[in-house]
Symmetry: C2
Subunit: 365 residues, 2 copies
Amino acid sequence: MMTLTRREFGRLGALGIAARFAPVVQAQDATQRNGRKTGYAIIGLGRIADEFMRGVQLTTNSSITGLVSGHRDKADRIAAQYGVPAGSIYNYDNFDEIVHNPAIDAVYVALPNSMHAEYTIRAARAGKHVLCEKPMCTSVDDADAMIDECKKANVKLMIAYRGYYEPTNLRAVQLIRDGALGQVQAIQSALGFNIAAGEWRLNKKLAGGGPLYDVGIYCLNACRCLTGEEPSQIAAFASTIDRDGRFDEVEENVTWNMKFPSGIMASCATSYGADTAGYFKVYGSKGWLQVDQAFAREGLHLRAELQSARLDEPNPARDPSHFQAEAEHFSHCVQNGLEPKSPGEEGLRDMQCIDQIYRSAGIAS
Amino acid sequence: MMTLTRREFGRLGALGIAARFAPVVQAQDATQRNGRKTGYAIIGLGRIADEFMRGVQLTTNSSITGLVSGHRDKADRIAAQYGVPAGSIYNYDNFDEIVHNPAIDAVYVALPNSMHAEYTIRAARAGKHVLCEKPMCTSVDDADAMIDECKKANVKLMIAYRGYYEPTNLRAVQLIRDGALGQVQAIQSALGFNIAAGEWRLNKKLAGGGPLYDVGIYCLNACRCLTGEEPSQIAAFASTIDRDGRFDEVEENVTWNMKFPSGIMASCATSYGADTAGYFKVYGSKGWLQVDQAFAREGLHLRAELQSARLDEPNPARDPSHFQAEAEHFSHCVQNGLEPKSPGEEGLRDMQCIDQIYRSAGIAS
């Protein structure tokens, strides 16, 4: 089933159907010239890791060379799919032994949020580069520590914000930078879903908080990327409406406003009680621009009504192409000693905003 | 030109094209049975009054029987169009003489915002019912006084919120009340436009404030109607980005959050510096619903993705059908001694919210 899906994507790529939306191909890398792809150990073998590994398979500069899991059976099954040798399968106890494995250049951290800091730091201490899923962690202090440890170990740290590498998101940013919208005045964005009971995301200790950590962070990050500014003021409310046991530890809804130094303002909403069909909309003096499904893995769609043009640009790229672009970029940075476009500092800034949002909403984070 | 346009609309009506979206026809009114339509004197002959008068022409229960203007030439021209006798044309000095004109049952107040209170009160004292444009006025005190004077004079007071009488807005409210969205969690809404220099709306004395009074009030009112609740908490920011002389007196942008007693949250944006293609979007546990052009006079479009259905409902109704529905309702209330669906108290509640929004944003109102 998965093989077939991978073949499908390969065929799609071969036909060049997605050419317009293909991530920019990096110039041939130094390491690649020596025939060496960046090898990733995957930490936490859940749904997102599965997407990421499928994305890596589509790259020319990355490969899966290690797995870290508490479930050996599952790890063995996945190792067989990706050709990972048994000696490169680790558990959470012997994880630090990756230091002795030269096939592992980097780790991809796809654990529950509260474990990101520990495994990023342990990976850095083992001399491995780190691609860490969002949210970076669950506190500003942890984010600081992760950045420090990666610097100390002289390894790269990138936060896996797909939007920095995804063509429709990049197109929106470019249109704004090119002045197609004139002076941007305001942004609105939302992302949420109606969560099922029992998800680890509802456990405050594992998740750090509610929908803001998990999905609202996309809106927050998008507003920062679209404006190119850091918010100077934040005001937020939180609420829990459904008393069905899901929200005993984390809140159900958060809505917040941000005022940026230029005067641009953003208003965002996130929810674990409602599907929002995630989007962002940017209002400028020369028109507006909207990206629907802006944070989804496929189905992104940009529309704009500008003085200069009316745009309607559906993006045919499908999952896991976002992860392909992300992995390709990080491997390129690792191979060429470059700083990723979404380094730890970007994650830290979002953690600082989340902290402010929770404070404003009266929630102890 | 105007005659032709009216004919066009008449033809559209005759063909029944807009039947699905036609306002509910009121049961035959007591007064109408005596052959008597409700006669309106129009105060302030600007663009919106023009739309309203064209709307009145489409009704079966209303007519234009008086005009109030500081420009006699303009009034004479319009009087000829609508068959208003010269003796029923007033200016702002002799306005109170409408008390002696039995052909005038009601007034439609379409003056700049700060004049709404004075002319509503003078009309009430002349024994005339009052249909007053939004915003109701420019202060909570004025709103209170308007309500009191109309009660004292035993005349009806209705605020001209088109959304209460417009089929697509009503359809959205009904879907929510019927539970099609499940538990509503959040709402987002925006309305704004890039204002031209020199508009009276930029004069704080006439307008009361910036885009919140003029267009943001639609978002505010929609959130109250969609939830059926009054906000318990409000947080707002305001900003002015463009320093081109337009915003010397009023702010350019306002964004605000509202938390309702049930826990539903709303985030809204309004601007005089950006076109927003006004909309509202409602997020519920069973799906979302969006109305584009929600506050426009035509082009309204409802879309929804619900568990039970996927809706895509463009509304073919065109300007001035909203005004027709509004006039029809008020005349029906006048003729049958009923309370309008958007009485003065609805306007007062919005004025109270606007006051809170400005306070939160640090603007003296």
